[in-house]
């Protein structure tokens, strides 16, 4: 700078050094506040749960023998993705237990209270099902023509298979997040209307959902052979290894993305 100033015939008259330590301390304080926040967002269970579900499903299905495949949804239904305080993530999967049919109810805390009240007697019937049967029920609703009370197709359903639509609807119905709960409130009357019609047609008793397992072609996954401890042990170990890879590969870019969103505040 001095050289170029000299060339231009200018003389330097002042050199000034200022301390920006206060700025650095301020920056550190902001980082201290924002980095855990970004980490927490990057590890939010809503982000990881669907990915973990897909990875666990593929891994267990790859390991399961043909006669064991029917147990995969039961084990998958135990998947829990929750915040590991203060800013971490906890993923878990476990044996459904011999009484899986009773345990695997849609957890009440996921649902909000409205299905018990305004949904009438068919609400508790539907949400008292084991999750695999619940998903099968949703698929049957999707497969039913609209004029018979089945799902009304819209642009979002274009080019999707019934299974893909049903899988999405079931996820919406079971998801605890607010956006999904709003969607569930809109979907619920349609599904319950169809269910009621089905119930009247086949003479179901909504007070005892267990008695209808198999009657409408629902999966009867609970009865029959129990999953061998050795197989489950194998599946869980493999899923653990797969999840480890998944988090190692996926955390850093998500964390970076969250930090970039906060760039202006840092």
């Amino acid at each position: 700078m001095a050289a170029s100033a000299a060339k231009e015939g200018l003389l330097i008259e002042e050199v000034k050094i200022e301390s920006n330590i206060a700025g650095v301390i301020g920056q550190m304080a902001r980082l201290k506040r924002h980095v855990p926040m970004a980490a927490g967002r990057a590890l939010h269970p809503d982000v990881w749960e669907p990915v973990a579900h897909g990875v666990a499903d593929r891994t267990m299905r790859a390991l399961a023998k043909p006669e064991e495949q029917r147990h995969v949804p039961l084990v998958l239904a135990t998947l829990m993705a929750v915040v590991f305080p203060p800013e971490g993530l906890s993923l878990s999967l476990h044996r459904p237990g011999p009484e899986a049919g009773l345990r695997l109810r849609v957890p009440e805390q996921l649902l909000g209270p409205e299905h018990l009240g305004s949904a009438g007697e068919w609400g508790p019937y539907m949400f008292a099902m084991p999750i695999p049967e619940f998903k099968e029920l949703i698929l049957k609703w999707v497969e039913t023509p609209q004029e018979d009370g089945g799902k009304r197709r819209d642009a979002r359903d274009a080019e999707k298979t019934d299974e893909e639509i049903a899988s999405y609807v079931a996820d919406v119905m079971l998801s605890p997040n607010k956006q999904a709960q709003d969607a569930r409130r809109r979907l619920l009357p349609h599904i319950l209307g169809w269910l009621k019609k089905q119930g009247e047609e086949f003479g179901w008793d909504p007070k005892s959902p267990e008695s209808h397992a198999g009657e409408a072609g629902f999966l009867d996954l609970i009865n029959g052979d129990e999953l061998k401890a050795e197989s489950l042990d194998l599946w869980l170990r493999a899923v653990l290894a797969a999840w480890r890879v998944m988090v190692l590969a996926g955390f850093e870019p998500r964390f970076r993305q969250e930090l970039l969103k906060m760039q202006d505040e840092l």
Partner: protein, 198 residues
Amino acid sequence: MDAEGSALALWQEYLAGYFDGGAHLVGRASVVFPKATLRFQEASLPQPLKGLGISVVWVTQVRVERRWEVLTAAELALLPAGTPAEQERMQAHCSFLFLVRAVDPPSPGSSPLRQGSGGQAGAASNAQQQVQVAAGKLFGLLQNTAATEPLSEKGISKIRPTPARMAFPGDGAPGADQGYRLRVLSCRAILRWAVASQ
């Protein structure tokens, strides 16, 4: 183009070229690879499993990017003749899981829980040795830059395998199936594929 499907197809082609029971060059060394049945994603291995099985599972992809690049000769060979070499290309950081398995045949008179030892308590069984050797060779293969060059040219590059960590059942886990051997090896790689938009 289905990135997941095309990546698994590349793995199939690549692994089938090695795990065929013959000797292959890995770098400058000739290595005898065991014969293995290959399966991808959730496809089950044939039962009862005879010999060695390797299942490749797609775990995840992150950092998906799109850019213009000159395609390699191997990539161009997969596209219709006359396709311009400069194409839009997608790139993603991917992870894969390799499940290496073998089952010991039941020895006469042994209980199901002792099948794996083949009656030789404490000794490494044939299946245990098979998965150990196969997982080791797979790890070595994926680490070798020269050996993975053809795979790199076709779209899976910068392969970073992690040694098979899960010793099974040698980790003393209660209830471990003594007749069923498994090693899990993972790897991260960069997957690149042409969009061929012109």
